[in-house]
């Protein structure tokens, strides 16, 4: 548990959002995703307070923090899944390539095609074959060309390092393979719609160490072509896969920097206490 009673007080420029300045960002292209004063609520519960940050294109950014700190909600705001929860609310802006995804003209379907997501528990569609799972986003979006779908399925499965394991049983149910394979299937499914950003919400928490290692290897590889934002409660995982790491606590962004700096030389005391395992 962590509370003020245990001597941990949150002192992070209380009223101003800790906008993390990283010089590397400014000299390159526009960051692909930028949050501006993001606030989110479930009913009256304020779960994200005034978070502003930028995610760098074709890099892996990890969001760490103790349970309930709002890290999952944060990524769910990025593809507008947050709004599916009854009584959920949000203020602020989420910019994708400079355009607010919450803008009035924006079709939520387009947003979700550009920003894909992989969930905590593998969730393949149980009534579809492995092949159909991969191309589900396209098929359900109206693509009918069988040849093209086959090709996309193969491509996505190869990108997800799953092709060799399932190429002989593409017509088996998506639920028939192991948990780790199912998660890679879900990654392939997200890749098949050709997003620019891939959100991952604790993608390895339901997997064993071997399956986890495979997914981590895959995440690093994916950042060649995609912007990956991964939520994890596993700090070792963050240090292994992420170029940048953000630490959240009680809905606030406490610190955000290049991963080695975060873990070796954190600026905030709270971050240090968290990554050294003193709380969380």
């Amino acid at each position: 548990m962590y509370s003020e009673a245990e001597g941990i007080s949150v002192q992070t420029k209380p009223d101003s959002a800790p906008v993390v300045e990283m010089t590397a960002f400014d000299s390159e292209r526009v960051p692909i995703v930028e949050l501006m004063n993001l606030n989110a609520w479930y009913g009256s519960q304020h779960v994200i307070s005034d978070v502003s940050m930028k995610f760098k294109r074709n890099h892996v950014t990890a969001i760490i923090g103790p349970s309930g700190c709002g890290k999952s909600t944060l990524v769910r705001c990025l593809n507008r899944l947050h709004e599916l929860v009854p009584n959920a609310r949000l203020t602020g802006n989420v910019m994708l390539d400079g355009v607010d995804i919450y803008g009035k003209q924006i079709d939520v379907v387009d947003v979700r095609r550009r920003i894909g997501m992989v969930f905590q528990k593998p969730n393949p569609f149980p009534n579809m074959s492995i092949r159909d799972n991969v191309v589900a986003g396209l098929k359900l979006g109206g693509v009918r060309d069988k040849k093209r779908l086959d090709e996309i399925a193969r491509n996505a499965l190869q990108q997800a390092f799953l092709w060799d394991e399932v190429k002989d049983k593409l017509s088996n149910s998506g639920a028939s393979i192991s948990g780790g394979q199912q998660q890679r299937l879900c990654i392939a499914r997200a890749l098949a719609v050709e997003p620019e950003v891939i959100l991952m919400d604790e993608p390895c928490s339901a997997l064993d160490p071997t399956a986890t290692a495979k997914i981590e290897e895959l995440i690093i590889k994916l950042s060649d072509n995609y912007t990956v934002i991964i939520v994890t409660h596993n700090m070792q995982q963050a240090s292994r896969v992420a170029d940048y790491t953000a630490f959240m606590y009680l809905g606030k962004l406490i610190e955000y920097d290049e991963t080695p700096k975060m873990f070796e030389n954190p600026k905030e005391e709270l971050t240090e206490r968290y990554i050294t395992g003193k709380f969380g």
Binding site: R113, F119, K121, N123, F125, N127, A136, L140, G141, C186
Partner: protein
């Protein structure tokens, strides 16, 4: 060793077994009696020939045809509306509105069928006179259709609620439109939805009360939707109470056929719920 607890156990077991016997005995005797009395009336002639007043050579041809057509119309009304109401309650209704619709639907399931009958009688039969004083196959189908709606709506919404939310989110996160996501969720709960449809069909196929106020009965084959029509239950009602021995025997024969039909639908329900249906 005889202990107090041991005796209590035996008493409870005895009571439970006695209750099971008490519950099953009438059911078994119904099946036995209907079979014994009905089976002798069954012949190809009986199944295919229309009602004959004298009883000789008469049959249930027109009653079977009428029941089939009236139930078909009922399903044509009840299935689409019932499915849509169920989808609304489970997928669109937020908070109060869904609760209200769900509550009304529960109440409607419990409304005695004669009440639905009198409603259709006053709204349709009296209001639109035809050669048979407004009694029509259409009114009969409408009355039974109204009865099907809440049954199908409730089973549909319950089945959809059983689909894990993670699949809804998986579909939404792929950028699949909401209506398409809902169809996918329906495919995932097809067994439950089919069960509801068959349950509703089997329930209305055995209805008599609303048909007395709408279909009236007929000695002829189907004469179009705006004429009175014979059904199995009306045939049983009219001939079973006629006092003419061979007509009473025919009523038993019709009862047997109806029993087999309803039994058949229930076996179909069992098969549907057991088999995994692959779709999409």
């Amino acid at each position: 060793m005889i202990t107090r607890r041991g005796i209590l156990d035996k008493v409870w077991l005895g009571l439970a077994v006695a209750a099971v016997v008490a519950a099953l005995a009438p059911l078994a005797s119904i099946i036995y009696y209907v079979t014994v009395r009905g089976i002798s009336a069954i012949s190809w002639n009986f199944l295919t020939h229309n009602f004959n007043q004298v009883g000789n050579n008469g049959g249930i041809g027109n009653a079977l045809e009428g029941t089939f057509l009236v139930v078909a119309l009922a399903s044509a009304i009840g299935i689409p509306i019932g499915l849509l109401v169920g989808v609304y309650v489970s997928e669109y209704g937020t908070g109060r509105s869904a609760d209200v619709v769900r509550f009304l639907s529960d109440v409607l399931v419990g409304i005695p069928s004669i009440v639905t009958g009198i409603l259709v009688y006053s709204a349709v039969v009296i209001s639109f006179p035809t050669p048979y004083n407004g009694y029509t196959a259409f009114a009969a189908g409408l009355a039974l259709g109204l009865m099907e709606i809440p049954i199908i709506a409730n089973t549909t919404s319950e089945s959809l609620k059983l689909v894990p939310n993670s699949l809804r989110e998986a579909s939404a996160a792929l950028g699949v439109r909401k209506w398409r996501t809902i169809l996918l969720m329906m495919a995932n709960s097809l067994g439950g939805i089919m069960t509801g449809i068959l349950l509703a069909t089997s329930r209305v196929a055995g209805e008599t009360a609303p048909l007395l106020l709408t279909a009236l009965g007929s000695t002829q084959s189907f004469q179009g939707w705006f004429n009175s029509v014979e059904t199995m239950t009306l045939f049983i009602f009219q001939n079973g109470t006629s006092g003419t021995p061979n007509l009473v025997e025919q009523a038993w024969g019709a009862s047997f056929v109806l029993l087999i039909t309803v039994l058949g639908i229930n076996i179909a329900i069992k098969m549907v719920t057991r088999r995994r249906i692959v779709f999409v």
